[in-house]
Symmetry: C2
DNA sequence: CTAGATGCAAACAGTTTGCGTCACT
DNA sequence: AGTGACGCAAACTGTTTGCATCTAG
């Protein structure tokens, strides 16, 4: 599970993406990969701290942003900024802009079968599902800062 | 689009669900239904304020919670509390607990076709999609506060 | 040597809570 | 009349920013 990436490999990933391979950055990356299960920035911070007590939470945040912008990792809470609600009328998919976090209703609706209990975490009860397409909205893809940042991910086995 | 629900109908919904039909609550509900497009609590607040300047933001929040708990409206940002990231390895669906907001990785992975440009908002660029099953996790469904609150939704046309 | 990264602390945004007062039922 | 809702303000949580210092390339 806990895959270790040699520093040299990380270095070349960074070079390709255009940023510096620092010790902190390397540890943060390693930690995210090895934690695996959807960590929060806090959790990554706490973990990295064990081996590098001087690390700053702000550094973890900044690096997460960098990795996400370069699509080295994914934000699975693209709408974390604020709650969003909808009246439970006609179901439909959403498009969420990963930068400005605006949510757009789509015409499209992906039908999904109600999941079997065995597909859910033990003891969980299902209520509804969401299908979210994530990317950049028109205005954010015009703002060059976020465009075409994707570095080819390295082959970490 | 902007569907108006008679107060009496709202009253009976409230009675069914076991809470009091106040003027504020009625306006908040109406506003959510008529706004339609995924408003934030702020947006609901600003809108309700136009007709009821004395309304408090806290009241809007409290009522949104009430409505969500009773499944009268849906939270489409079940993971809003904190960012969550994952290393872009094997894709898989998630289960998110609507109460404690924990995220569970599922074995299951729903394959979705890359959406056609015409399905996306104009000018948007697609990067990845998320499939999230929402409900209560084991421990939260044991905590009775959130269980079996669903009021049969009223027929608002 | 220098652009970019780090660490700190302060600022922010969005949300929640406690409590005194008010109003549906 | 009593329980639950409201409004206010203060507290919180998670995130972001500015800036002085450091470091990889």
């Amino acid at each position: 599970m806990s895959k270790t990436i040699p520093f040299e490999e990380f270095q070349s990933l960074c070079r390709r993406a255009g940023f510096i391979a620092t010790h902190q950055r390397y540890l943060i990356f390693q930690t995210i990969v090895s934690l695996g299960d959807n960590p929060t920035p806090e959790e990554v911070f706490e973990r990295v701290r064990r081996s590098l007590p001087g690390i700053s939470l702000a550094t973890v945040y900044k690096n997460i942003d960098t990795f996400v912008d370069h699509r080295i990792i994914r934000d699975i809470s693209p709408n974390y900024g604020s709650r969003r609600i909808e009246s439970a009328s006609t179901p439909h998919d959403h498009f969420v802009c990963r930068v400005c976090r605006r949510v757009f209703d789509l015409e499209k609706h992906t039908e999904l079968a109600r999941p079997a209990n065995t597909d859910l975490p033990h003891g969980a009860s299902f209520e509804y599902h969401l299908v979210e397409f994530v990317g950049l909205c028109r205005s954010c893809s015009h703002a060059s800062r976020f465009r075409d940042k994707a570095a080819r991910p390295m082959a970490h086995n």
